[in-house]
Subunit: 228 residues, 2 copies
DNA sequence: CGGGTACTTGACAATGGTCAAGTGTGGTGG
DNA sequence: CCACCACACTTGACCATTGTCAAGTACCCG
């Protein structure tokens, strides 16, 4: 029982991008350090400003990383997908979490205590490289978010979001609430609602509930670039 | 002559955060890979969208990393200080530079070609760790910028900027033009100008040319938090 | 079927961007 | 050493985008 348990955990750990390409021994080491935690939908994992003891790697569900201001407005920095780490920056920069984390669905993650993980990583170049790779990806994504907020109006940001979600098909279902989408995109629910109908009126998209269909990709792309 | 040259270069390389803690041999390896480049004030180092062949480490001067939109509005993602790398994310994510880079002063940097550097880093955990550390720092900084843009008005962002520059003394001189500061803070010159005089009228600061003196730290801190 | 939450829509206000016209100010050349 | 030009910055008037507050509607879950 404990044995199958361990095997299951090793399988989960293998699915984490940070640990891809590791051999058996290395996986064992990671396993011995990892603490499995589960979170219910809506549960706060940590809050901004809290002391950072370590970082997480999500294996199931979804987690949002966000900031809030005094008035309660929220900005979502990113949604974390299974396989990906979050709060890894806490490992080497600063002693507190610079943002909050909350489970958006029922979720499970492995927690890695900072000191132990640092020791581990020093002798495991593969993990270090994997870490650099995912951080590089996050860095790009953040740069894009900054660009969005500073240089695009909300119709452009929304267009960008929709285009990303429809790289292959021509339609998709929102996997988050519209108010969360608003917070991701850097606006509020009301404005998102209006912008969505505006795009629909222009004939670029069709919206029914959470289902969005793209009718005119070119139109969206122009918006993204900054035309009107 | 070539010998003193090399020694000078090794000294420069030693001053780069990515390569701190390396032994002689490792420094040699890095040296053999590094291409020294100089840039005049105002010179474009690379443009957004350009194929990314490698990354840079600044050793002298200053460089800005920025995005521009079609209307020509600019958002500065960061100013790079000597010792720090830029475009390192290009090493492992994507084939093009996601932003542009330009020398703000006469500058010098070492260029590292991606493939070669990747090979090097695999056997040099120290470099990998250093890389993770600096990326973690950049990640934090970006998160902060996103927070600023999404959740603070420009007076709050400006207050934050001034507070950061006056952690020890109570006054400082702007090391960039006001229009560049505006672009860093996510606004335009006119608004920055107005905001500066507004803060001065409230008695929080005193401005003369590029010199800024803080008169009421508490007031600035409130602005940063979101009061008005 | 009921109740609550999420979303939409409307009217309004405000932050901040744009355009245009000054006002320096520093550096260069006469 | 002064005059002048270019450029950075300031200030004013205006307007657009977006946020706020409020009310109404739809939809989902129990």
């Amino acid at each position: 029982m404990a044995e199958t348990d361990k095997r299951a955990r090793l399988a989960e750990i293998q699915g984490i991008v940070l640990f891809s390409g590791l051999d058996e021994n290395e996986l064992e080491e990671v396993h011995d350090l990892a603490i499995r935690k589960t979170f219910r939908k809506g549960q706060v994992i940590f809050s901004q400003g809290e002391a950072a003891e370590g970082f997480y790697s999500l294996i199931k569900g979804r987690v949002k990383i966000f900031k809030v201001n005094l008035e309660g407005k929220e900005q979502i920095l990113q949604f974390v997908s299974p396989g990906y780490p979050f709060a890894e920056a806490a490992l080497f920069a600063g002693k507190t979490y610079p943002a909050g984390a909350q489970a958006v669905e029922d979720s499970a993650a492995y927690f890695f205590e900072s000191d132990g993980f640092r020791k581990l990583i020093i002798n495991r170049p593969t993990i270090a490289i994997n870490m650099i790779v995912t951080q590089a990806g996050y860095l790009r994504r953040h740069a894009r978010t900054i660009e969005d907020l500073a240089l695009r109006e909300v119709s452009g940001r929304l267009a960008g979001y929709i285009l990303e979600k429809t790289l292959d098909s021509s339609n998709f279902d929102l996997d988050i609430s519209k108010s969360q989408l608003a917070a991701r995109i850097g606006t509020v629910g009301e404005t998102l609602s209006r912008t969505l109908t505006k795009l629909a009126e222009k004939g670029f998209i069709k919206v029914r509930g959470r289902h969005i269909e793209v009718l005119n990709r070119g139109g969206l792309e122009e918006l993204l670039l900054g035309a009107e």
